[in-house]
């Protein structure tokens, strides 16, 4: 059965152009980048080219980029390093961490480890709009805060977080900030200078690259101790032979994203984090315009940023058009459906929908059987569904959290697929509501 894939926040299909770039490294070309011979040199050159491509995408410099196997690994590396630095001579750690309550599990679980090591952790909840208030993050900072963690875009509801505003205050206080940008990179413009963060994490498979390659960007001058003991790869920051084919794929995906999402702006910070100071200014003008039409929240969509050629691209525009088409047709397809966080600044590709009286897990399976792949939120390792921590943190009940689905579009989706999906969603949700209603009546 042909499957319409609408779960791009989980992973994206490999972009055929990325695949082309990788194929030589899965075939005739091989070599360990640390080897002295010419095969090794070629592999080294390929890895360094990818490093340049990744750095260019986010406005960093190549030596600041460390390749890892996953975004999870990169996040763990940064938090674990903060814990190590907080250790006293006796071995137990002191100090403090601030994270948002809607961070990815790789940050939340790392913070739990930090807690066990002796650090205090403050978890700042998002508002009902799915955005963590910058003031609340800032209020949580303490003199002994070792690290603050705020994601750029939430993986479940897609809201953009006020990273630049929080980072500015962190810099004033000398507190490093880790920004998990895995869901943002490749969908909206991301610029490390504009964000002002110290660590930024991105992953290839969220924007057309392969699984198994991610990058940790660290501000020049910041040093970390790697998680793994081993060779001196990645300037001693990440031991282990580089995954050359995957890294080449990450580089290729970064180059495509730079062209299609928009490169970091050249003109510096003027007018950037101005009145919003937050993530709204991370959005390209094209996407901003579309989103403004779609969700009627034009307030943040002011044209202040200007529409420089580097500021936006075809990709966010296209993603937002798909999402807006979906959200415009949603009310007619499923009466009573509500889009979460619709008025907040958010990713152009993500729509998180509450369907009152519809069990999300059953709906997901019915849609899958009908040929449509969506998600109920973050996937669980056992393949079963738990209430989304993010939605609970936003103040929703477990019941509301369990009657939600996440639709995340990709650049290969077509408007016709959106229409087909709306039809299927309407049919399956109605069937489920009938069955659930009958069950309730039966139970009396």
């Amino acid at each position: 059965m042909p499957q319409v894939y609408l779960d791009h926040n989980a992973t994206t299909p490999l972009d055929p152009r990325v695949r082309e770039a990788m194929l030589p490294w899965l075939g005739e070309r091989h070599g360990n980048p640390s080897s002295i011979h010419r095969a090794g040199q070629a592999a080294r050159n390929a890895v360094e080219e990818a490093r340049e491509q990744v750095a260019a995408l986010i406005g960093g410099r190549p030596p600041e980029v460390v390749f890892t196997a996953s975004g999870t690994e990169a996040n763990n590396t940064v938090v674990a390093d903060a814990v190590e630095r907080a250790r006293g001579p006796a071995g137990s750690a002191g100090g403090h961490l601030v994270i948002s309550a809607m961070e990815h599990p790789s940050v939340r679980r790392s913070a739990e480890r930090a807690e066990r090591a002796g650090l205090a952790v403050t978890r700042v909840p998002p508002g009902a709009d799915g955005v963590v208030p910058a003031a609340a993050m800032i209020d949580a900072l303490r003199p002994d805060t070792r690290l603050a963690c705020l994601m750029l875009a939430n993986n479940e509801v897609g809201t953009l977080q006020p990273v630049a505003e929080v980072a500015a205050e962190c810099r004033r206080r000398g507190i490093p900030l880790l920004c998990d940008a895995v869901q943002a990179v490749g969908k909206v413009p991301v610029d490390v200078a504009r964000l002002g963060v110290d660590f930024l994490v991105l992953g290839a498979h969220k924007f057309g690259g392969p699984l198994g390659a991610a990058a940790l960007w660290l501000r020049d001058g910041v040093e970390i101790e790697g998680l793994l003991a081993g060779g001196s790869q990645e300037r001693r920051r990440r031991a282990g032979t580089e995954n050359v084919p995957a890294i080449v794929g990450l580089g290729a995906a970064a180059a495509l994203a730079r062209a299609e999402v928009g490169a970091p702006r050249e003109e510096g910070d003027g007018g950037g984090p101005g009145e919003r100071g937050g993530p709204g200014d991370r959005r390209g003008p094209g996407e901003r315009g579309r989103a403004g039409e779609g969700d009627g929240s034009g307030e943040r969509g002011g044209p202040g940023e200007g529409g420089g050629p580097g500021g936006g691209g075809v990709r966010p525009l296209r993603l937002a058009a798909l999402r807006d088409r979906f959200e415009a047709g949603l009310a007619a397809a499923v009466p009573g459906a509500v889009v979460h966080c619709r008025t907040a600044p958010r990713l152009p590709n993500t729509s998180h929908v509450a369907l009152d009286g519809v069990e999300g897990e059953a709906l997901l399976i019915r849609l899958d059987l009908a040929g449509f792949a969506v998600s109920t939120g973050s996937a669980c390792s056992s393949g079963t569904v738990e209430p989304s921590q993010t939605l609970l943190a936003m103040g929703l009940s477990a019941e509301e959290a369990l009657s939600s689905i996440r639709v995340s579009f990709g650049i290969a989706n077509r408007p016709a697929e959106v229409d087909l999906f709306l039809g299927a969603l309407g049919r399956e949700a109605a069937a489920l509501r009938r069955l659930t209603g009958a069950a309730l009546a039966c139970r009396g």
């Binding site: 069990e359 079963t384 309730l440 139970r443």
Partner: protein, 443 residues
């Protein structure tokens, strides 16, 4: 992938699915997949029959910390189910039912032991989990039928679907299904009911299924190690040693805590006696275990509770008794018996045991709207095990009438229904007029 492998399934030597009713459903069939051999072959057969099939596995007992094989709920078995589904070319999903499983199966299992009974958790799992919650979940996914790998048959009868024994008597599992109702049977399929275990394994090998060489899971699936240790761990500690007495009440010594014994048990009593001693009864209130000689194990009948008939109650013969063959444990060959249903003593007293009590609580819980979203069963309305009790008189005295086990009533290959054993009846039950008239009054 399945093209050439599927061909032998339609060839000679492979039985038709004669265990099922004649009109095969056209709609979606959900097949419960444990990752074991039997349910895997059931899924494979259904997929090969060309009907739309979806595989469903249940996460019943979180053992993720220790991935294990060969138990129906181990993490590795869920992986096997997923692989078999892919081989069969059907979609597969895992549903989390661990909270419900604990509530409906594990907690009553522990409560039964603590009440001096020897429980039969597989019956409860079929009644409350597979053919209630899972069936309801399957229906929400659009399925019309739920298929399982049980060795039993569903045949169309004049009064609706009938439950019958498997053709392979050695593998028959109809005992564990006695609490199903006609509505559940009408929605169920048992593709293996007319096959032998040997044929099933041969099919799995032919098809190249990854589980073809898997062994049987005979133990209680959620218990690792000893049942008694599990009960103690769940109950939060060990009990005091029980007094061991003979049937005259004479103290013979002290043994282990009472719940560590089972009626009929001979080994491990730790009492020196001229002749072998057997456990005759367990008395939790007195923390006492009554032992005696083998002949004292023989019971003339049993007192049952939560009587259940799959179809309409069979008509009684002379004196109001229903004639049937009764099996008093899963591997019991069966004995001819006469059955006298009667109203329970007082309101709900028939379900007042620990098992019944837990069951009643969970029915109340299922009524909440939150559970509806979370997927509580909707077939709860037709719960088996009403408040009726039953006296069963054996044609021949039987040993090992064990409280907590099911007594299942057969007529030929057909399962009529059954009850849960509350006690043995030593003397021949008096044919009280009240028994017969009570039944008549209810009809």
């Amino acid at each position: 992938m399945s093209g050439e492998l599927a061909a032998p399934l339609r060839g000679p030597g492979v039985p038709e699915m004669s265990g099922e009713r004649t009109a095969p459903p056209a709609g979606l069939v959900a097949v419960a997949m444990s990752g074991g051999l039997d349910s895997s072959v059931a899924a494979w057969l259904l997929a090969g029959a060309g009907r739309p099939v979806v595989g469903l596995s249940m996460l019943l007992w979180d053992q993720s910390a220790r991935a294990r094989h060969g138990r129906c709920c181990g993490a590795l078995d869920l992986g096997d189910a997923r692989r078999v589904a892919q081989q069969a070319g059907i979609p597969h999903y895992t549903l989390r039912l661990d909270r419900e499983f604990r509530q409906q199966v594990v907690d009553p299992f522990v409560a039964d032991y603590l009440a001096g009974r020897t429980p039969s958790p597989c019956v409860r799992c079929n009644t409350w989990i597979k053919f209630d919650l899972l069936l309801e979940r399957a229906r929400r996914l659009g399925a019309e039928r739920l298929a399982t790998g049980h060795y039993a048959r569903i045949l169309d009868g004049p009064e609706g679907p009938e439950l019958h024994t498997a053709l392979d008597a050695a593998k028959d599992q109809s005992y564990f299904l006695f609490e199903l109702g006609g509505e559940q049977l009408a929605a169920s399929l048992f593709p293996l009911g007319a096959m032998t275990k040997c044929e099933v394994r041969a099919l799995a090998r032919q098809a190249g299924l990854a589980v073809a060489e898997k062994g049987e899971s005979m133990e209680v699936c959620f218990v690792e190690g000893g049942v008694r240790e599990f009960v103690e761990a769940q109950a939060g500690g060990a009990g005091l040693p029980a007094a061991v007495v003979d049937s005259g009440g004479k103290a013979l010594g002290s043994g282990q805590p009472y719940y560590r014994y089972t009626v009929g048990q001979r080994r491990g009593l730790g009492i020196a006696a001229p002749r072998p001693l057997y456990v005759l009864a367990i008395e939790p209130e007195a923390n006492r275990v009554v032992v005696g000689e083998e002949r004292e194990l023989l019971a003339a009948g049993l007192l049952g509770e939560r009587l259940h008939w799959i179809g309409p109650e069979p008509a009684g013969g002379a004196g109001g008794a229903i004639e049937a063959t009764v099996r008093i444990r899963s591997r019991h060959p069966g004995v001819a018996a006469r059955i006298w249903p009667r109203a329970a003593r007082g309101a709900g007293s028939g379900a007042a045991g620990a098992t019944g009590g837990v069951a009643a609580v969970s029915v109340v819980g299922a009524a909440s709207a939150a559970r509806a979203i979370a997927g509580a069963g909707a077939t709860s309305a037709a719960r088996p095990g009403g408040p009726r009790e039953v006296e069963v008189e054996f044609a021949e005295p039987q040993r090992g009438v064990t409280p907590g086990q099911a007594a299942v009533f057969y007529r030929g290959s057909r399962v009529l229904g059954g009850c849960w054993i509350r006690d043995r009846l030593d003397a021949r039950p008096v044919r009280r007029p009240a028994a017969a008239s009570g039944r008549a009054a209810e009809r």
